[in-house]
Amino acid sequence: MFPTPIERSSRSWQITYQALLPFALILWLLPLIAVAIFSVKPDADFANANYWGWPSSFEGITNYGLVFTGSDMPQYLLNSFKITIPTVIGAVALSCMTGFALGVYKFKANIWIFFMFVAGNFVPFQILMVPVRDLTLQMGLYNTITGLVLFHIAFQTGFCTLFMRNFIRALPFELIEAARVEGVSEWRIFWFVVLPLMKPAIAALAVLIFTFIWNDYFWAVVLTQGVESQPVTAGITSFNAQFRAAYHLMSAGSIVAAIPPVAMFFLMQKHFIAGLTLGAVK
């Protein structure tokens, strides 16, 4: 193990390390801690220039209550869920199929199709912006949740295919061959042999895509406009305009907007990290 394990080092370094850890963590998360404290401060603290000091009183319930009752935040949150969940399902379903096809079968075009997905996934969004916006307008889906979801599914399929294909490649191929010898049809091999083995990959992708899509800002701004369809990342800008200079409410709003992916991360941590670091080790 590198660096040298702490329990094999000198006593004084052990103590220093134990003390350094929480200190470093607080320093690292200082921006977040500040927002969390901001969000429970009363309005008066900001008027009295008590920005970074201790809150003069704890107004968490008032502040968060106002976010939920005095703004469009609940609608934005709902929109975010309505955009994120179908996208996760769609992208994972499509990429289970493409990943299976590219991971199991050998045919000439295989690697080129795979590279098409990979290259498309790396493309800067901006080159797609004008045509995709125009396309969405023409289909009558501009400023609708459906329009945003369809695009997200298509774009995420690139990354998901890369992920699934590499995962399937690492599965024991003998299983598939054995099934073929038994005369099991290809479709049933996919459904009964490969898919059950893909569960960890599906879980990992689902959390990753959930976070990516929840945090998307660019496409939300390009393809949607109003309260009825904008997700929370885009909505927070109008929220902030509504509560200009009301730092306690802006903080509370930001925290509300950040909670779903954070909760997802903590609940599915193992899968999340497995997904993010696939390929980081040989």
């Binding site: 470093a24 963590l25 902030n240 950040a258 670091t277």
Partner: protein, 305 residues
Amino acid sequence: MAQATIARDHQSSWWHRNQQQVTPWLFLAPGILFFLFYVIFPIFQSFNLSLYEWDGLGKAEFVGLYNYEELYWDDAFYTSLKNNVVWLVLYLAAIPAGLFIALFLNQTVTGIRLYKSLFFFPFVISQVVVGLVFTWFYDPTFGILNVVLGAVGLPPINVLGDENWVTIGIIVAGLWPQTAYCMILYLTGLNAVDPEQIEAGRLDGAKGWRMLWYIIVPQLRPATFIAFVVTIIGALRSFDLISIMTNGGPFGASRVLSFYMFEVALSEYGFRMGYGAAIAVVLFLIMLAFIAYFLWSMYKEEKAR
């Protein structure tokens, strides 16, 4: 009756014989169609569109390479291009920084798992929130940055209002989540480092930096490659933070190509789709150099298998 059976036999045997050739295409079809429709074709459409003058509503007028000629004389374009280079270079700092934190956290003391996930936290949060927080951090009237600067006797600076500092200020905000990402890649990589090689290195008297550089870093190559890919892409895609923190200002000093493109095509500056597409094409060509390199590396690896 007998004929029908024969026909069906014939059909099923055709299917039986060609099943393994046909199945992958059936599985690929929906994914490929979606991807072609929404990702691949639009790339070519953008190339085409960059030869037109179009406001997004009326008729597009063919202008040849005029948009590119205009780019050539456009100062704002060069500012954006320069900032893109600055982003690319400074953003790479996330890789060593991530490695450093990963080394710091690669221990087995109690509670270290919680520490690791809390250090990873910034990556999970939306860049919109990150941008907002850092805007307050830099704020000239109450930002904590100037409080700290004042405490050590330095004059206050208005980071986001100063043309020379603004891009660096935004990059620092972007480095926060990106470092967390690189850290998690390296933590996973460090887990897989071969302990025997470390012991062998120790016997040979390698330690500290020499051990890190000659024994650990070479084994972290796959993690470094991924960190490099995601950091480059992240740097070239930077949009959210700029939009939230400065909206390109002051006086366009913090624009990058992706933001300038958006501004030209979809904001109060007018709806110049063709000109925007031309900027996007330039950005795409820069990215293409990296994409080609990434694909080449992957291709070599596939061949080696």
